[in-house]
Amino acid sequence: MERMKNNIIFKKISEASLNRKIFISTLAVILLISVLIALFTRWILISSLTLELQRRGLGIAQSIAESSRGYMLTQDTPKLTSLIFDARLGERKFLIPYVFILDKKNNVIAHTFTSAFPDGFHMANSILPEQNSSIKLLKMGRLSVYDVAFPVTEGIYQIGVVHVGLNKDHIDTLIGKLRTTFVGFVSVVTIIFFIISHWLSNYITRPISELTKVSDEISRGNYNIKPDLKNKIEGAGSEVMLLADSFINMTNRITVSQIKLKESEEKYRHLVNSGPNPIFVIDRKTFEILDANPRAEETYGYTKDEFTGMLFTNLGPFEYKHSGLSPAEDDWQEPQVVNSKVQYYKKDNSLLYVSLHASPTRYKDRDALIIATTDITEMVEKDNQLIQASKMTNLGEMSAGIAHELNQPLNAIKMASEFLEMMIEKNRKIPEQDLYDVIKEVSCQVDRSAAIINRLRDFGRKSDFTKEKIFINEPVEGVLEILGRQLRLQNIEVELDLDETIPPILAHNNRLEQVIFNLITNARDALNQKQELEEDFASRFIRIRSFRDGERVAITVSDNGIGIPESLRERIFEAFFTTKEMGEGMGLGLSISYGIVKDYGGDVDIESKEGLGTTFKLSFPCAL
């Protein structure tokens, strides 16, 4: 409770206005000083007066003591009495209330008391052995008196003591008068300074209040107060002037900033509104759409009203990984590309492919995200077309091989049927085993042809947008079914080292086939090129390995062909870059393959030694 009270008081004091503070402190200081001076002076005067009085008393006592010596020796009491009564004549009556004399036996020999001598009074003030005299303040009924005791001495012998009473009231009155004077003095000073300090404090604080008023105006948006300000604070002192100047500078700067801010806002509003990308502002937690620019309305077919309050995820899949920082810190993060290549839907349920960029922001006191959805539909389609075209080229390359491939089963079927025909025409019996073999063979060869055709058809198909879980050994085996025979015919040995236990990846089977087809044909070409240089290039091989590589799945295609020189290694992925002769290839294969691999989150590495061979390594993240 006490502490609370103290706190309240402390608060009240610190919050009190500057004006009041100056006023009160000036006043207080002056007051304090005056009081101190007054008290000091008073003390000096009082002590001086008291001392004076006592000295006077001593003087009187001494004179009486000297005068009474003779009488004491002669023990002339009447003369003594008359003496001390004389001492009280006239004016001194008031000052000296009593006088009495004691003999050496401390008996009262004479006194001036009109009534009986008060008991024990004569012993009230004794002179101590070392002292010459003694002064003591005694009370006599209502009266305060200084009792001055002075010894009567004959030579060195004390024959008696003279006690003179001094009326303290005397000086008390004086002191009283003094006190009144001083109080009066202090009061006047107080009043004067009350006025002065009040005026002073106002004078000092007025410019400050003016500045405050101006500041209020400015915060309300009114910037035109400046000219008056200087006038109002004229003469307040250089510090205040400096403050005013600084203040005016500040208001200028604020005005400029305000203008710039407005311009900036205009600019950004303009950008957002006329930007080529649909831009949304959504709530960071609920994904509710808070705002959308005109382009968004155009692209998706909803009006702004329809957008407001809609969940952003109505348009398409969206995930935002909270970075785990507090919202305030989060605001300063870099924008992130959250999803690239996602399917989004317009109001009429038609499809578009977008790339999303999100960055955190604040919007009307909520934690929000700004999301730009860049329409990449055309790009995705062109991409697909390019891949498809490349695939067609590949298929074209393969046509001779395919023809040869299909010819084999056809030959077996033809010969089989002609054989049967001949035997029947010639009425010859066909051995049962032979008949069985022949018929089985025909069926088998038809299956074989169908498989080849299916392979080709699959290879040539356009892939769906959605990826699937693919085991990377599949496309390898698929491509080898198409290319295998060709490679054998060219005396290229294909070594396979495929791990069956590796996890799947997210991809499209026939696009992977395209990549592997590309790598294998490149390897074959490299081997053929080396063959041209080295006549006796005997063991030519292509080695394909698949394995788990940490968190990823990897596949390597190696050949012992002509290798890739260091200088070309970076260029081989460029579109239209080829080391082949005109007409033997456009140089698109690797660039498209690279694009496909990157699309699946994969990487391509090359190791090559000129003249010795090349290894391409593809690695992909595992599908979870």
Partner: protein, 240 residues
């Protein structure tokens, strides 16, 4: 029983060949690759060899060459894929008896076997006979055997005779078992274009289907028309 060796890397094909040839009464040996084929050839000395051209390891051309080195009189028939004319001509140049296209029709098989048989019977035909006849305003040049570079002087003579006799139309009559290699074709073209310049009309008859294709490919048909039946050729010449 004649011995036949069949070399092909396709097992089903070998199976079918085997069935057919056994039905025809041959003693059949099969091999899946060139190397094995040659080993069997050395051991068994078959008179007729069928070999696929496109095979891994040693290819058919190589096999043909090696066989011809060992015994030039062995009849080697190469099996080509559809449209491998270049290889066919190459094989013929190396002395192959004939070529057949996959898928193999019975007719083609029979024809090839027929030629091979005939040539074995008439073993030893290296050169050829070129006969010149002139009758009823029709000049006939009969060509028997293999036309190669050595045939050039004989052919030139025959055509010279034709010019001297002011023959305006010429019938070139081949026999079924004749074969023409690259050099032979070149010679024919030279002589035929010369005849064309002299405004002579030439008809060709009697060549096998396969060689008809080769002649067409070589462009001989620019200078002479090819007829399957002799009468058609004669009519054509009489009319023009």
């Amino acid at each position: 029983m004649r011995k036949i060796l069949v070399i092909d890397d396709e097992k089903p094909t070998l199976k079918m060949f085997r069935l057919f040839l056994i039905a025809y009464g041959y003693e059949v040996f099969i091999a899946e690759d060139g190397q094995t084929g040659l080993e069997i050839y050395k051991k068994e000395s078959p008179e007729i060899v069928f070999t696929d051209i496109k095979m891994p390891g040693m290819d058919g051309i190589e096999v043909l060459r090696k066989i011809k080195e060992t015994d030039p009189f062995t009849e080697v028939i190469v099996v080509t894929g559809h449209g491998d004319m270049d290889l066919a001509i190459q094989a013929l140049n190396l002395g192959a008896t004939d070529f057949i296209n996959k898928p193999i029709a019975k007719i083609a098989l029979d024809s090839a076997l027929g030629r091979a048989d005939e040539r074995i019977k008439l073993a030893g035909i290296q050169g050829n006979e070129i006969l010149f006849q002139n009758r009823d305003n029709l000049t006939t040049i009969d060509i028997k055997g293999n036309i190669t570079s050595t045939s050039e002087p004989f052919l030139s003579d025959a055509f010279k005779n034709a010019s001297e006799h002011d023959a305006s139309n010429i019938l070139l009559r081949f026999d079924e078992i004749s074969s023409v290699n690259g050099a032979g074709i070149a010679i024919l073209i030279k002589l035929l274009s010369a005849s064309r310049k002299e405004n002579k009309v030439v008809a060709i008859t009697g060549i096998s289907e396969n060689f008809k294709q080769i002649f067409e490919m070589a462009g001989i048909t620019r200078f002479a028309k090819i007829f399957d039946k002799q009468e058609d050729a004669v009519n054509y010449l009489t009319v023009s």
